[in-house]
Assembly symmetry: C2
Homo-oligomer: 147 residues x 2
Amino acid sequence: MKKPLRPAAKAVRPSALQAESLRQTRREHASETAEDYVEAIADLSASQGEARVVDLARRLGVTHVTVNRTLARLQREGFVSVQPYRAIFLTPTGLKLAEECQHRHRVVVAFLRSLGISEKIAEIDAEGIEHHVSPETLAALARHTHR
Amino acid sequence: MKKPLRPAAKAVRPSALQAESLRQTRREHASETAEDYVEAIADLSASQGEARVVDLARRLGVTHVTVNRTLARLQREGFVSVQPYRAIFLTPTGLKLAEECQHRHRVVVAFLRSLGISEKIAEIDAEGIEHHVSPETLAALARHTHR
DNA sequence: CTCAAAGTGTAGCCAAGGCTACATTGTGTA
DNA sequence: TACACAATGTAGCCTTGGCTACACTTTGAG
Ligand SMILES: [Mn+2]
Ligand SMILES: [Mn+2]
Ligand SMILES: [Mn+2]
Ligand SMILES: [Mn+2]
C-alpha cells in the first residue's frame, strides 16, 4: 500500500468514468478502418462506377498491400465481397454502414464549415472526429448547423 | 487500364485531399496514446500527489502490463521519467503536452455541454474528439461555447 | 494476336498496443 | 521484525495496420 492515511482526495474525473470513456474510444478506433473503407468504396462506386484496389489505395493514402489485407478482414467480417482481380463490392451490411458514415461525415463537415472553418481544415478534422461522435452529439451538431 | 474512355468523372472529394486527411488522422492516432497518458499522469499527480502504475492502469482501463510497456516507449520519446518501483514523473516536455491536452479536453467538453449534451456523453465523446481538433477548430469551439 | 505495363496478390518484416501467466520487490501490520 | 499481499516487472502470445520486394494475371495498344 502506498497512501493509507491520505483521505482519498476527491477525484476530479472519477477513474471509472475516465476508463470507460477511453475504452469506448478504443472500440471506436477498432471500427474506424472499416468505416473509412466502406465509405471510400461507396464514394468510388458512385463516382467511378466501381472500386478497385489501386483506387482505394490512392484514396486512403496507403499501399495496395495494406488495402488487400484489410479487405480480407472486412470480407471475413461481412462488410465487403471480394474476388481475385475483380472490383470490390459492399454487402448490404457494408452499404448500410457506408451510408451512415457518409451522412455522419457530411454533418460534421457542414457543422465545422458553419463555424467558419475552411473547407480543407474542415475535411481534415472531420476525418478523425466523425468516428467519435455519438448519436446524441450528431443530432446536436445537425441542429446547431447554421445554414 | 480499366476505364480509358470514361471522362474521368469529377471527383466529389479529390483523392489527394482525402488521402492527406486520412494520413493526418493516422498521425493523430500515433500521438493519441502519449496524450492520454501524460494527461492522466498530470491529473493523478495533482489529485493524488503522485502517479503509480496501478493508478494509471485503473484510470486508463488497461492492465498494468500495457501501462508498463507504454511508459517505456514514452520514456524513450522523452515525455516521462520512470525508475523501477518508483512513482512516474513528467519531463518538462511531457508536462507541456499534458497542459495542452488538459486544455483541449476542457474546451471540447465545455463546448459539447453548451450544445446540451449530458456530462457523461460529453466526456465520452470528448475523449476521442480531442485528438482530432486542429488549432483553428479549437479556437472556433472556444469562441462558440455559450457560457 | 502479342506482350508490356498496369493491376493484383503474397511472403515476410516491423511497431503499437492489447492480453495472461508468472517472477520479483516493497511495505504495513500483526 | 517477519511476511503476506499489493505493487511492479517480464516473458511471450495475439491482432491490426503500416511497409518492401517480388510474383502472377489482365488487358489494351500496336
Ligand atoms: Mn475517417
Ligand atoms: Mn470520412
Ligand atoms: Mn483522449
Ligand atoms: Mn482527455
